[in-house]
């Protein structure tokens, strides 16, 4: 008091604001926003970190030109899209499970916990587990198939799941569905189902609708925002997915059948020292995701029913 110099309240507040923001903001600059720009710059360069001094040579659009002519890039893009086949199945499964769990039944919480286990545990340990499950000679899946065949007196033999080019992708898709069907999406659907107004069902009942009709006339339109949200988020995630399971289970093979875009970026950047090229691929990936995000924003109001 009486020092003659006092900061205005608004200045004090602003200073406090900067102070609180600062620790996070520095990290945000160093590890996110500056690297984004640096990555754009790298995508126009040939980078060699092994030679000394390190080489950063500007080549303009050379990386992008190479990329569009690179058959492997297109193959891995295709792989990434094919692996996203898991999304519609997983989405439908999540909804069916949510509908079943939405009934007022005893012991539901236990089931919800069990369904969530594969999602919670997802990671290297689960991929190691599934690599053994899919083992063509001794894995439990092919053992089951053979035993089932014996039961029917048929010589059933399971495929070489992870080493056959035709079966590696289906194997990863099946595992992906198992992993995601009871997880986040089911919880989101459960929340959405609980938010559907009861009187809509009552009105439908008065009109004589059966359960099937009620689902399509009331439930499905009412939860469409959730469906749309889950679908777009899954697609965005799908474009960036596939590294961990492929690295552990197949090494990206057989013959590149399970290498996805992100795996190709990893290989280029950290196995083959093609950092400029890897940065260019990552920017193409970013642009694809950006496009989907924009479509999502534009469509959200139009397509879905509130």
């Amino acid at each position: 008091m009486g020092q003659g110099f006092q900061l205005k309240d608004s200045t004090k507040e602003a200073l406090a604001g900067y102070g609180f923001l600062l620790p996070n903001f520095i990290g945000f600059l160093v590890f996110t926003s500056i690297p984004v720009l640096a990555s754009l710059a790298l995508s126009f360069m040939k980078v060699d970190l092994i030679s000394s001094p390190k080489i950063f040579k500007l080549v303009w659009f050379e990386n992008f030109r190479q990329l569009f002519r690179d058959p492997y890039f297109w193959k891995y893009c295709w792989n990434t899209v094919v692996l996203m086949m898991a999304i519609p199945f997983s989405l439908a499964g999540s909804l069916i499970l949510a509908l079943a769990l939405n009934q007022k039944l005893k012991g539901i919480v236990i089931f919800r916990t069990i369904y969530f286990l594969p999602t919670i545990c997802s990671g290297v340990a689960i991929y190691v587990l599934w690599r053994l499950i899919y083992n063509s000679d001794f894995g439990v899946l092919n053992t089951l198939i053979a035993k089932f065949g014996a039961l029917l007196h048929l010589p059933l033999k399971g495929p070489n799941w992870l080493t056959d080019e035709a079966w590696a992708k289906p194997a990863l898709i099946i595992m992906g569905i198992w992993q995601s069907v009871g997880g986040y999406n089911m919880i989101l659907y459960l929340a959405a189902l609980q938010g559907v107004p009861r009187d809509l069902y009552e009105a439908a009942e008065i009109d004589g609708a059966n359960s099937w009709q009620k689902f399509w006339a009331v439930t499905w339109p009412q939860i469409s925002p959730t469906t749309f949200f889950i679908a777009t988020m899954s697609i965005i995630g799908g474009f960036q997915a596939g590294f961990d399971p492929a690295y552990i289970m197949t090494g990206g093979g057989p013959n590149g059948a399970t290498t996805t875009i992100i795996y190709y970026i990893y290989n280029n950047a950290f196995e083959w020292q093609q950092m400029g090229y890897a940065a260019a691929i990552s920017w193409v990936l970013f642009l694809v995701i950006l496009a989907i995000t924009i479509v999502k924003w534009k469509m959200f109001g139009k397509l879905v029913h509130y």
Partner: protein
């Protein structure tokens, strides 16, 4: 025909009940089968981890053989622990995960308070920049951050794993959204009483935000525990490996030791499982929060 209308009603109720029972049994059967499918791989994992190495392959054995641990070779766990430095991996993971989570929650809470409650020039622009980066794939920043860490000589250190994991826009965004839902009156009253900004944050906002903080803690912990790609990129020496990288390394060394591989995998999952079972409600809340933002 019955003249008593209550008879009709009774019959109707009975029929309704029978229909309901039928429906309930059907749903239970469905849910139960689904749960079995979810659990089967885990059961097989546990059973395998407890077998003798030679016992794993079971063509001539009865069908249940794969699913029941017929022998209890606890030695597998000890062996897995000895063959690679699992204890070391555990310790590394704990160090990395605890520091990442602590850093993430603290800095996010600070920043979220600034964004939600304080007015300063440029605030909305900076917040928009945060939002915009949320859709950038990790692959984009991965390469420059790696080069930066290499320039700093931090490759193959805990720092290299921890620091980039701390600063995610998502944590700040989530906490900001939560702070905005809290009533302001208490803070205004505290301000009039001469409470500092830090005091308001620490003594009023944080205690009210325990559920959101718990959710962010749980999610960061889990993500960091399972994170594989980044530690794989920046760590080289075995004694610094986190559990996922360590397990992958273990697999590359002992490709065919199924019993040991399953024992090792189970040991990696166990902490997450416990965390989930005790913190389930925060998972559910966190997922719902993330769903609202769409």
């Amino acid at each position: 025909m019955a003249n008593d209308p209550s008879l009709d009603v009774k019959q109707l109720v009975r029929e309704e009940r029978r229909k309901n029972l039928f429906k309930k049994t059907g749903i239970y059967a469905f849910i139960f089968l689904g749960a079995l499918t979810m659990l089967a791989p885990f059961l097989w994992m546990i059973a395998t981890s407890l077998k003798m190495p030679g016992e794993v392959f079971s063509y001539q054995k009865p069908w249940w053989y794969d699913w029941v641990p017929t022998s209890f070779v606890w030695q597998n766990y000890v062996k897995a622990w000895r063959i690679v430095p699992f204890a070391r991996f555990y310790l590394n993971s704990i160090i990395v995960v605890v520091l990442t989570t602590l850093g993430q929650v603290t800095t996010s809470a600070f920043a979220a308070y600034a964004f939600a409650r304080l007015r300063f020039p440029g605030r909305d622009k900076i917040f928009f920049a945060y939002l915009a980066t949320m859709m950038i794939p990790g692959a984009v920043t991965m390469i420059p951050v790696f080069i930066l860490l290499q320039e700093l000589g931090w490759i193959d250190s805990y720092k290299a794993v921890i620091l980039p994991g701390i600063f995610t826009a998502y944590g700040t965004f989530m906490l900001r959204q939560f702070f905005l839902t809290l009533p302001k009156d208490l803070e205004d009253a505290a301000k009039i009483d001469g409470c500092s900004y830090f005091g308001i944050f620490w003594r009023i906002l944080l205690p009210l935000s325990k559920p959101a903080l718990a959710t962010l803690t749980t999610f960061t912990f889990m993500g960091s525990w399972m994170n594989f790609m980044w530690p794989l990129i920046v760590l080289n020496s075995h004694e610094k490996f986190t559990l996922p990288v360590g397990l992958a390394y273990f697999q590359s060394l002992h490709n065919t030791d199924w019993t040991l591989l399953m024992a090792g995998s189970l040991m990696m999952i166990l902490p997450i499982l416990l965390l989930f079972i005790f913190n389930q409600r925060y998972f559910v809340e966190g997922i719902k929060l993330s769903g609202i933002k769409g």
